[in-house]
Symmetry: C2
Subunit: 461 residues, 2 copies
């Protein structure tokens, strides 16, 4: 089946035109999944997927077309609850856990006819950016199996990059969608806080968690977000915003519009090859007629510190009972990190939350003078599995810290942040570009990313 | 000048009709303030007030009428910054502090022509519901000088009740507007969180603080809120809501509409005389044609506990530096209470914040089936100055805890809550009725309160 369409958008057209049937597409993908060496999936829904494909096929043939995701195979990070399908959080605690209800996002995808083909591997309880600590084994980077996918949504990154599905959902608390997107060379969107429901998604940190899509192309990503976004009474953090079409700006172009590049923080301690790729993207935008100007976003180190403190405290709150009753069931790394979250004082959390509000206002202020902010997604390309220390031009840093350093701030402020592939290192490891936009303005991010993707031909496939 | 109008609304009409001049009104009030025995004011703006009155008089005579607050004397709690006028927070730290800028609410009142006549006494740093701990001495209840006004906005409650001004602003973090309103027998509104700017208001607890008006009547309160409400970029918690007229529902009546009375929590451990007054108000509403039904709001004890933990942690965060560098400058009670806020852990704060979100949803759910929720404002009437223990029908409780028990929950959830006088005990101590409404629906609260006030003739004057 090498003839399968490469993008979700192309598959969607082919399914609608009946050039392909959902059954053959799902069959072909399940074969690929069988041969997968990235360990992208914890659970493959095989028979259920085939049945869903048969239903979709019947509906499409009967003219009951549900829209661009009808018959499209997708995967869900294995902390998104699926009724009747095991959901493990990558943890021994839940290795046999079969939820009795589905997450809102799982239901939404089902309603528009998407076909679940499996549950993707996740760093244990989503608490780690490397993707190599899961009760079900590490995920491996499709570009180099000795290297990490990044995490925590590592299985979703690998599955999309290895063409095992046409899109996958992840969750992002400190970068967990954008990190695997960047390291695996796919498109990953952390939407605005509140944009996508978290009901039925196992929490890592209530006030920082975001759910969003990973896909091969920008258009595919916008199509998936169309199905995911929307107010949900079941999620106390859900924002009551009207539905919109996130593909509406794809053809809008960037001529005469303005991009901000931060002077500090985002370009400190980053690898030369990464910096080179990012500077090249700025040139591409300039060549497309955009203005590129320097901007200043103050206090980002404090913002990152605040994000990390809140994450630690909330993760401890989520897992307190388990840590007390069955500490041995956690992996060593997760347990240690969780226990660290017991110590901070409430008044530090209060100050951190305050810093989050101030930081959000600072991003808002910068985004009044520019349309989007352009940064690297990560300071480094994929490191080796199990590796934990890195040296970036003389700067020693723990890899988990390096991986979340540039993504963490907007998990605290809530601004939408999109990672887009922007070439590779000499060793062939993907590099990711991060675009940060105004709150609830994902459509503009997609517009810029689409223009860039076209001009630079950097699609994952 | 016994002929001075008794309400803000009546004064407003008299000023517009030129039956009174701002200069004579301010002069008369300043005389009353001189004779005040409640210790309502920390600073009286005397000469400045007279100058402002002269300006207002000139403008009104010249036909430059600025609206219903033009020429109306008001007072501000002494933690609301006033450019060039001492602002002390009731604390030795700030006894000579003259701000170089005004709070947004102070500027707004000035813009509509209101005349500041002084800064009202506050419990030290607003951290106490009794109003009897201030660097400038306790405030005394106009109904019994041996008793507390309640706090922390005790000076505002006393000043309005003693007719020393036509309205005063307070702040409410655990009940600090509604408590003195109830104990002094005036109307006090804690608006929806985000409705009124806190820029330039000294914080007690960033995520719980609210600013709002105390007045003699419901109509007066709505008129003041009209001038205060509105989005303010300078306040990171400000909500971007359109301006509205809060008097618009005053004549709407309650016939056929529905009031909810909670079964639990709000009627546990309250004094018989208080309960009797509240049950009587329900009868008044019934006689006006409203439906009164029981409602259930779960987990309120947890909500209150969460509100108290967040308050303690944030108050410590606000005062950490002062506690370390000059602990002796705090009063003993404030220092001890602040120091208690150092201890809680961040994960407890995280859980408390979560509980706040869930509680907000629970209030929202109840307020889908009823228009408003009716409760007592307080379980007890005014206690004696310096008294700290009470016994409510056999239930032993610290007075500060008793005073904030029924007001605290909606400081956490953000729902607007209005305290309205509803008669008195046999000893002549005022009792307050609390009306809780939908978020950003203060107008409905005023509508109900106005209907009640008319029917029961319970105006402060």
């Amino acid at each position: 089946m090498e003839g399968l369409p490469k993008t979700l958008a192309a598959l969607s057209r082919a399914l609608r035109e009946r050039d392909f049937s959902p059954v053959e597409v799902v069959g072909a993908l399940l074969k690929r999944v069988e041969a997968d060496e990235t360990n992208a999936f914890i659970t493959v829904t095989g028979e259920k997927s085939r049945e869903a494909a048969a239903r979709a096929e019947k509906e499409i043939l009967a003219g009951e077309y549900r829209g661009p995701l009808h018959g499209v195979p997708v995967a869900l990070k294995d902390l998104i609850f699926t009724e009747g399908v095991r959901t493990t959080m990558g943890s021994a605690f839940f290795e046999d856990h079969v939820p009795d209800h589905s997450a809102t996002v799982a239901r939404k995808l089902e309603e528009v006819g998407a076909i679940l083909i499996g549950k993707t591997n996740t760093h244990e309880f989503a608490y780690g950016p490397t993707g190599d600590r899961s009760h079900f084994g590490p995920t491996r980077n499709p570009h180099d199996p000795a290297r990490i996918t990044g995490g925590s949504s590592g299985g979703s990154g690998a599955a999309v990059a290895a063409s095992l599905c046409y899109g996958a959902l992840g969750s992002d608390t400190g970068g967990s969608i954008r990190i695997p997107a960047a390291l695996c060379g796919v498109v990953g969107m952390k939407p605005t806080f509140g944009r996508v429901s978290k009901h039925g998604v196992f929490p890592l940190s209530w006030t920082l968690d975001h759910v969003g899509p990973l896909t091969r192309t920008v258009e595919d990503n916008a199509l998936l977000l169309n199905a995911l976004a929307g107010f949900d009474l079941e999620d106390p953090h859900s924002a009551d915003r009207p539905a919109e079409d996130f593909t509406r700006n794809l053809e809008r172009g960037v001529r005469g519009r303005t991009i901000g590049i931060p002077k500090e923080f985002y370009f400190e301690h980053i690898e030369d090859e990464v910096e080179a790729r990012i500077r090249e993207t700025a040139e591409v935008f300039r060549s497309l007629g955009a203005w590129v100007q320097e901007v200043e976003i103050p206090n980002l180190s404090q913002t990152l510190k605040a994000q990390r403190l809140i994450l630690a405290a909330e993760a401890y709150a989520v897992h307190e009972e388990r840590l007390k009753t069955a500490p041995e069931k956690f992996g060593e790394e997760a347990r240690q990190r969780l226990l660290d979250g017991e110590r901070p004082k409430a008044h530090r959390y209060a100050n951190a939350r305050r810093q989050g509000l101030l930081a959000a206002r600072e991003f808002d202020a910068v985004l009044e003078s520019v349309d989007i902010i352009l940064t690297p997604t990560l300071p480094i390309p994929a490191t080796r599995i199990d590796e934990r220390e890195t040296n970036i031009g003389g700067h020693e840093e723990r890899i988990p810290s390096a991986l979340t350093r540039l993504t963490g701030p907007t998990d605290l402020t809530g601004h939408p942040s999109l990672s887009v592939p922007c070439g590779a290192t000499a060793a062939g490891l993907p590099v990711g570009l991060q675009l940060i936009g105004r709150r609830f303005d994902e459509a503009t991010l997609y517009g810029y990313a689409y223009a860039y993707e076209r001009a630079a031909s950097t699609q994952a496939l």
